[in-house]
Amino acid sequence: MNPESLARSLAQHPFCKDLTQGQNEFLAGCAKNARYEAGEYLVREGSLAESLFLVRAGSVAIESHIPGKGAVKVDTLAPGDILGWSVLLPPFRWHLDARALEPTLVFALDANCLRGKVQADHGFGYAFTLRLLAAASERLTHARLQQLDVYKAELG
């Protein structure tokens, strides 16, 4: 995919939808398409965070391996979701595993390239970080509700 059509595709993703055309073209310089088959890992816990992923199609399980229990799913990502604010935050390591549950298409944004662009253009960096913050806030809200274990507490 050439950079122009990659920028147009990126602009369709909910994470990038409100970025300007120029910002999307700027971001497209860090992006590539990637496909993962069912069962294939996008990232492994502890490994270096080399890409931020924007999910385009398919679904991704976020898992943690618990000895004796195996992989425990804590979340599922769907088209429109993002994976990977670890790319902007030291020590740039993944905290959990991410595994494709079905054939999955993503935009993979190169971490070094992204960090460079966020530093080089603070306007872009602000817009990009604000979107990351919104995604993180939404994820935190959901995690808090999950933490409440509301179905256990309900009365019959």
Binding site: K73, V74, D75, G80, L145, Y151, A153, L155, G156
Partner: protein, 274 residues
């Protein structure tokens, strides 16, 4: 209903174990000429010698010969009901309470948001909408359970999921290695549906905190709060608004609810002392 306080004994014709702590009874309503109710209403069920509990009707309103309830065994009375078997009798009073606004939803998109055993009171509304499917716009169902083992009505959910005119998503708060579906809270599913928010009716039932989060999410998507309906639960005893046990601010949940528009329920949900 002849007398709201008069108990009627009905015979159990079928018992199904849905999950490790939840079961469904079918009661024979033929001797009384059928049991008519509106989706969302509940009955008071009496386990003889133990006590009475409010239980939503979970069956098909178009099949009045069978009266169905899905019950979670969490206390002495519901555990007593769980111990009953086919041929045993159960005391029934009802139906009570306000229904889901199924007729009002005609011509609009509908999103059903259920959490845990909250799917049971919504199932009659789903049956009702499916029986005249063309009268509604899109029909979306979001169902959240604690774990894969806690999912109610699994076979029926698969049948609904297989329909091209129903968009259904199930999620669990805690997945296991064999679970291939969504993991995460039910509110996360809501933005995945392609609805026309301004003309959508939302029916919510589950733990109150789940309904608070879900209603905020729906409002954020543009669904008017006047078209969001929630089913509240309080300590219902008499069923007719006389005893005051289920008082919620100025209303009685057994008589003025359990189904409320969010515009009425939200101010009350926000008062912590209630």
């Amino acid at each position: 209903m002849t007398d709201a306080l008069l108990l009627e004994s009905m015979e159990i014709t079928r018992v199904r174990h849905e999950t490790r702590d939840t079961f469904t009874f079918d009661l024979d309503a033929r001797p009384r000429g059928g049991f008519r109710f509106a989706p969302g209403q509940f009955n008071m069920l009496y386990a003889f010698g133990l006590g009475e509990v409010p239980i939503s009707i979970s069956g098909d309103p178009l099949k009045p010969a069978v009266l169905t309830h899905t019950i979670r065994a969490v206390g002495p009375t519901t555990r007593g009901l769980e111990a009953l078997k086919k041929g045993d009798g159960v005391g029934v009073r009802g139906p009570f309470g306000t229904p889901w606004p199924v007729d009002e939803a005609q011509g609009k998109d509908v999103i059903v948001v259920a959490g845990g055993i909250g799917l049971a009171p919504l199932r009659p509304a789903i049956y009702s909408m499916l029986s005249r499917r063309q009268a509604f716009g899109k029909l979306c169902i979001a169902y959240g359970a604690r774990t894969p083992a806690d999912i109610l009505y699994e076979k029926e959910i698969e049948r609904w999921r297989g329909r091209i005119d129903v968009d259904l998503e199930v999620t669990v708060d805690r997945g296991d290695p064999d679970w291939r579906g969504h993991t995460g809270v039910v509110t996360k599913l809501l933005r995945r549906f392609e609805l026309t928010p301004e003309s959508t009716v939302a029916l919510l039932c589950g733990p109150e905190v789940m309904m608070r989060f879900a209603s905020r999410e729906l409002e954020g998507l543009g669904v008017p709060s006047a078209r969001i309906y929630v089913s509240m639960e309080r300590n219902m005893k008499c069923g007719v608004g006389s005893c005051g046990h289920c008082q919620l601010g100025p209303s009685f949940v057994c008589k003025d609810g359990p189904v409320y528009p969010l515009t009425k329920a939200e101010p009350l949900m926000g008062i912590r002392e209630l």
